[in-house]
Amino acid sequence: MYIHAIGTLLFGIALGYLFQRSRMCFVGGMRDFYLIKDSYLLKGLLGTIAGAFIGYAIFSAMGHISAFPWMLEKGLLTPIPGDPLGAEGTVVGHLIVACIGGFGVGFLSVIQGGCPLRNYVMAAEGNKTAITYVLGLAVGAVIFHMYVAPLVKAILL
């Protein structure tokens, strides 16, 4: 019953250490690649995809993970659940929230100077802007589920 809390905490501590040492940032990787053609940080994003793919493939073959690869099991344009539309959403609806959400995260994260992950690390390094940003994440999560998610569902479902 508590294995998920213990597991995420321990893995989080180990990964937080690696993220701080490597200065890993997902949006920063895209920004540096576009602005100065530097792929050093972008390799973090590609590495995450590669590492996850290897892990999913191994554990799927061992039978610990189901429905992998997703697009072959569930259909080409069915998203993994996560966006507010859920299973009732249409393909167009999922694409709209994916594009608006992706664009917004990319645009605003460049202004903030890093993705949410990088800001957690910067907050732990003593950056006051990042600390208030993390508080903003917490407040925004409640706002999203109280006001934004019902609105999006009303428009797109």
């Binding site: 937080g16 072959l72 917004g104 903003g136 409640v142």
Partner: protein, 175 residues
């Protein structure tokens, strides 16, 4: 000599590539053995796990009468018990603690600010709203892409376009 220098450098330094590979593989381990799965590809997500933690606490305190959404992590089919009712996922707490340990161990902890903390707060609120709209932060979009979700790949492309537009209209003016 250059090769020696590069080898020495890479031995001492943790690169983003190494951290990314470790993060991706850890996410797969967390899903396979620690049951971080209601939606798949949920092993690590900054936005969603912040949401799960905050909403779990808000629900427990009961300031609002509404039941805010918490991802039903690990629903046991046999007993019907949902583990996330008992405890929230603590990924973001772990990452904060781990980064704090690392910055202290290497004497990099220092109070500073990059821009106005009030602007930072507003950006935080907006970023998590957009992130939850697409169903995850950049980390989870990468995990979803690795899991074989084309919509997630499209959202990463949209993110790259957002980065390009912000670089053009904001960064190039302010540099």
């Amino acid at each position: 000599m250059i090769l020696n220098y590069l080898m020495g450098e890479s031995m001492r330094k943790i690169t983003p590539l190494m951290a990314g590979l470790a993060a991706g593989f850890s996410a797969a381990i967390l899903q396979a053995f620690f049951k971080i799965t209601a939606p798949p590809a949920y092993g690590i997500c900054i936005a969603c796990h912040t949401r799960d933690l905050v909403n779990w606490i808000v629900n427990k305190i009961g300031i609002f009468d509404t039941k805010l959404f918490v991802a039903p992590v690990f629903k046991d089919a046999a007993t019907g018990i949902v583990a996330s009712n008992y405890a929230p996922v603590l990924t973001v707490v772990g990452i904060f603690v781990g980064a704090f340990i690392a910055s202290n161990a290497h004497k990099e902890f220092k109070l500073k600010q990059t821009h106005s903390p009030i602007l930072g707060f507003v950006l935080g609120v907006l970023v998590i709203i957009f992130a939850l709209l697409m169903g995850g932060c950049p980390v989870r979009e990468s995990l979803r892409t690795a899991y074989g979700d084309i919509i997630a790949l499209i959202s990463l492309v949209a993110m790259f376009i957002g980065v390009i537009v912000a670089s053009e209209v904001y960064l190039k003016k302010n540099v």
